[in-house]
């Protein structure tokens, strides 16, 4: 073994031990009498000190040495662990870590000035004996050799102890020089300890080996291939008569399944691996915030795929920090509320329905739904109207919105409004969900639901135009099937855009075959039996219905990424091989939603609600003028936006530049044909010829409205009625120029967005240009 290899081994081993140390020391602080833990800490530092002395890292040795001295005093019961000494020891661990990192990168210990740290440790070392009297009266561990020492053990006693140890241990690795009077008692015990430690370590090393993750990935791929070959063989042999062949293939089947499970398991790691760092984080943070927090963990052994473990590490740490900083109150507040001054932070991990649930709960102040609502309205994240309709549960989940912080003031720990949304994004990236429940005064619980592994996910298999597609189950909310006789009633059209009323809410429908251009032309999406299958999906909080030909089954699929050539197609998240050996594409629900504009329009609506105050006021008035727009679609405008309704003969229509105008009451009235503005989504063929030829045909129905001091005429097909309606049932617009879809008099009606229509038709812009020129 070369020198560098020895150093490398030393680094890996030391890092592992240090990670454990943090946890052990914090637990020791809570339970100072725990000899086992103290001995383990001591052993680790002793090992590091010993090895670095051998490798010639003198600075590291100096730091470790003074720490070891303090630890040995603690272990021998000559001193008690105080918060100061814990902090000093943690600082010492940090220093050791820094030196190790420097050795790893540069091979040198680097320029360091640890004198202060060493001095502070040394000071603690000296000051400790002052409390010696206390120690003897304190209930210090009274097990084995420790008690003997303390009672002023004579050298023969120690010798006996050591000999007993050696007898118990038939394979001593080191002979301890236990000559009476030559070796100090502490050193003897230390020797025995080190010996034991070395033994447990070597046995652990015997039973585990380090394996490159790349190799495991490769094995995983090979197993995938094996499973496929197995499936094909099973298909052949099932039609065979040969009984021995059948038996063999059955055996192959079982073995393959076991191998698959085994290989999957190699990638699994207990969640305790990342939790082990949390007690230290909590301790440090609690000290900074002046709080007392105890951390409890349950289900550390719950296993997750390595890649998932890696990606939830940061969100988890963030949530825990948040809890300590905001969730748990200061001790005096807690005492006043009649609670235990020590806050409780409970981490729990468990399996549920093929997924892993991680719960982070505290018994802190909880969230104030009212305050959250106010904050959200202040920051224009929701409208007051939306706020009043929200349940408390919905309100709590507002804190996952970007730009939201519940902290009264910004601290260096948290409160800058970034974080919770990052937590949600990171968790959703790996196909998980986050949910928050809270009871004011009683605490908060955050539930993270994540899949066991990324490589294999449960998915719904659907068929569309003869091709199979897999839809990841995480984004699936429900399945709706409309029988042939319900299709007519169940699917309504908003200007040619299909919607379905799902429990009173309009659900936009997206035809998979159209989005993917699988077949030409429009269809109802009905399958062979005339029924329509709607897969209700949720993307970015926005539900939509995906119409497919048939819903097959749910299946566990192995996700394979698409090659670079096809990565550009955002509607697919990857591909998978089905049981019959054929390839099926995995739909990216987010991508499908974006492609069909489901998401962007929801955002658009949110923006409109936020910024367009006039629009908001208009919507609150309840008298509407109903009229027929292009293609017989039912549309409406709030009556108070209109000045007059006119019927103009064609003869008065003239063309001024690109704009149709009419002479009206001594003014030139620009005319906007609603059909020409709203029909952008339609294909060229369907464009009504009238839009360009206003000067022919029957008299024009014109709605005259004043907008920002300008009078314009909106040409519609037919004026229907004036109605009063609450128009509560709202739905995001399906195309520009429309504010919302609402239900008026029990029918879906589009509410026209006048500012948008004017802008699209160029009227507003033209006016602005004129103004600019006038000001010059």
């Amino acid at each position: 073994m070369s020198d560098t290899e020895i150093v490398q081994e030393f680094l890996v081993e030391s890092y592992e031990n240090l990670d454990r140390l943090d946890q052990e020391l914090v637990s020791l602080e809570k339970n100072p009498g725990d000899v086992e833990t103290l001995a383990s800490i001591f052993r680790t530092i002793h090992t590091i000190k010993g090895t670095c002395g051998f490798l010639g890292f003198s600075k590291l040795e100096a730091v470790a040495h003074v720490g070891e001295n303090l630890l040995s005093k603690l272990r021998d019961g000559l001193a008690r662990l105080t918060p100061e000494s814990t902090t000093a020891l943690l600082a010492m661990f940090d220093a050791v870590r820094q030196i190790l990192a420097s050795i790893e990168t540069t091979g040198q210990e680097g320029e360091r000035h640890d004198e202060e740290l060493i001095a502070s440790l040394a000071k603690l070392l000296k000051s400790e004996p002052a409390s010696k009297n206390k120690v003897s009266s304190a209930p210090v561990p009274s097990k084995g050799e420790h008690s003997k020492e303390k009672a002023g053990a004579s050298p023969p006693d120690i010798r006996a102890t050591v000999e007993k140890k050696i007898q118990e241990d038939p394979h001593p690795m080191v002979e301890v020089p236990a000559e009476a009077g030559v070796v100090k008692s502490a050193e003897v015990v230390e020797g025995v300890h080190a010996q034991q430690g070395a033994r447990t370590q070597s046995s652990a090393a015997d039973s585990t080996i380090r394996v490159d993750v790349g190799l495991l990935d490769k094995l995983m791929n090979l197993v995938g291939e094996l499973v496929l070959a197995r499936n094909q063989i099973l298909q052949f042999t099932n039609s065979s008569e040969d009984s021995s062949l059948l038996a063999t293939s059955q055996r192959l089947n079982l073995l393959t399944t076991e191998i698959q499970a085994g290989v999957m398991k190699t990638r699994m790691q207990p969640i305790g691996n990342i939790w082990s760092k949390l007690p230290r984080t909590v301790r440090d943070l609690a000290l900074t915030c002046g709080k007392e927090v105890s951390i409890e963990m349950e289900g550390q052994e719950t296993e997750l795929d390595k890649t998932i473990i890696e990606s939830i590490k940061d969100p988890l740490t963030h949530l825990v920090r948040n809890t300590v900083d905001h969730g748990i109150e200061k001790p005096e507040v807690r005492r006043a509320a009649g609670k235990n001054p020590v806050g409780r932070l409970h981490l729990r991990a468990f399996h549920e329905g093929g997924q892993v649930i991680i719960q982070i709960s505290d018994d802190g102040a909880g969230l104030d739904a009212e305050k959250l609502r106010r904050k959200a309205i202040e920051h224009s994240l929701i409208t007051p109207e939306q706020g009043s309709r929200m349940t408390d549960g919905e309100t709590f989940n507002l804190i996952f919105l970007p730009g939201f912080s519940t902290a009264e003031k910004v601290t260096n720990v948290s409160g800058r409004g970034v974080g919770m949304d990052v937590v949600r994004t990171n968790v959703e990236k790996i196909g998980g969900t986050v949910d928050l429940q809270s009871k004011q005064g009683h605490g908060t619980t955050v539930r993270i639901k994540i899949p066991l592994t990324l490589a294999i996910i449960p998915a719904l298999i659907v068929t569309c135009d003869g091709d199979r597609f897999a839809i990841p189950q995480v984004s699936l909310t429900e399945l709706v099937r409309l029988e042939a006789d319900e299709v007519e009633k169940g699917i309504e059209m908003v200007h040619g855009v299909p919607v379905h009323r799902l429990r009173g809410q309009l659900l936009p429908l997206v035809h998979l075959s159209e989005e993917l251009k699988l077949r030409e032309g429009h269809g109802t999406g009905a399958g062979q039996d005339g029924a329509v299958n709607i897969v209700v999906l949720q993307s970015d909080g926005q539900p939509f219905g995906l119409v497919v030909d048939a819903v097959n089954d749910t299946e566990e699929i192995v996700v394979k990424p698409l090659r670079k050539q096809l990565k550009n197609i955002k509607t697919f998240a990857g591909a998978s091989i089905m049981g019959d050996g054929h390839v099926a594409l995995i739909l990216d629900v987010m991508g499908v939603a974006q492609r069909s504009n489901v998401i962007s329009e929801a955002r658009h609506r949110a923006m409109a609600e936020k910024h367009d105050d006039t629009a908001e006021k208009i919507a609150e008035k309840k008298t509407f003028l109903l009229f027929t727009g292009p293609d017989d679609s039912r549309m409406a405008l709030p009556l108070n936006t209109l000045a007059r309704l006119e019927e103009l003969p064609n003869s008065v229509v003239e063309k001024s530049g690109q704009q149709w105008v009419a002479q009206y009451r001594g003014q030139i009235l620009p005319l906007i044909h609603l059909g020409s503005v709203l029909e952008e989504r339609r294909t060229e063929l369907k464009r009504t010829p009238r839009s360009g030829e206003l000067s022919e045909g029957p008299p024009l129905q014109v709605l005259v409205c004043n907008y920002e001091g300008q009078t314009v005429g909106i040409v519609v097909e037919e004026i229907l009625d004036i109605v009063e309606d609450s128009a509560d049932v709202r739905h995001p617009a399906s195309r520009p120029g429309v504010l919302y879809s609402v239900v008026i008099n029990g029918r879906v009606t589009e509410l026209v967005d006048i500012p948008a229509v004017l802008q699209t038709s160029g009227v507003t812009q033209a006016r602005q240009t004129v103004q600019v020129e006038a000001t010059r």
């Binding site: 291939e225 550009n568 390839v583």
Partner: protein
């Protein structure tokens, strides 16, 4: 005397093509292709090559040949590209042949367009010409087309 070059040959619409043997992973008979909606036209789809999902490129479309007759079953020439294996769908497989470097000639100037960038040149065999296909270009084109296709989608 220079080292003889080995080529894996195949036919497209009766023309003989060849790719350097080192670049070829394997040649297999027809595999079921899963079409990829919205993908560029030259991509015929995805095939399952013993548990590996690889992209199949329709070489007829790539090289601007007329579409394959409906009754003809294509073969797969699986080549190694920079981005993993890619299957080239061809009409028929020919032999592995050895040629001398001296028989190579660059394509005539009169050959232009998209095809020229993919054909490195020809080897003059006794009875016919063998077109040397640039594997990287033949696979890369799919990517460029995909990007262009994407841009069109955005514009719309």
């Amino acid at each position: 005397m220079s080292q003889p070059l080995q080529f894996c040959t195949f036919y497209l619409d009766k023309l003989l093509f060849g790719v350097e043997l080192q670049g070829v992973q394997e040649v297999i008979r027809y595999l079921d292709v899963t079409r990829v909606p919205l993908a560029p036209g030259v991509v015929s789809g995805l095939v399952n090559l013993r548990g590996q999902i690889i992209t199949a490129v329709d070489l007829r479309r790539q090289l601007e040949f007329p579409p394959r007759p409906a009754d003809a079953v294509p073969m797969n020439v699986v080549v190694r590209s920079e981005d993993g294996a890619v299957s080239l769908m061809v009409d028929n497989i020919g032999d592995v042949i050895e040629v001398e470097e001296s028989s190579f000639e660059r394509p005539p100037e009169t050959l232009h367009g998209k095809v020229r960038s993919m054909i490195l040149g020809v080897h003059k065999l006794d009875d016919r010409l063998m077109h040397v296909l640039d594997i990287t270009k033949a696979c890369q084109m799919a990517e460029e087309v995909a990007e262009r296709n994407d841009a069109v989608t955005v514009d719309r």
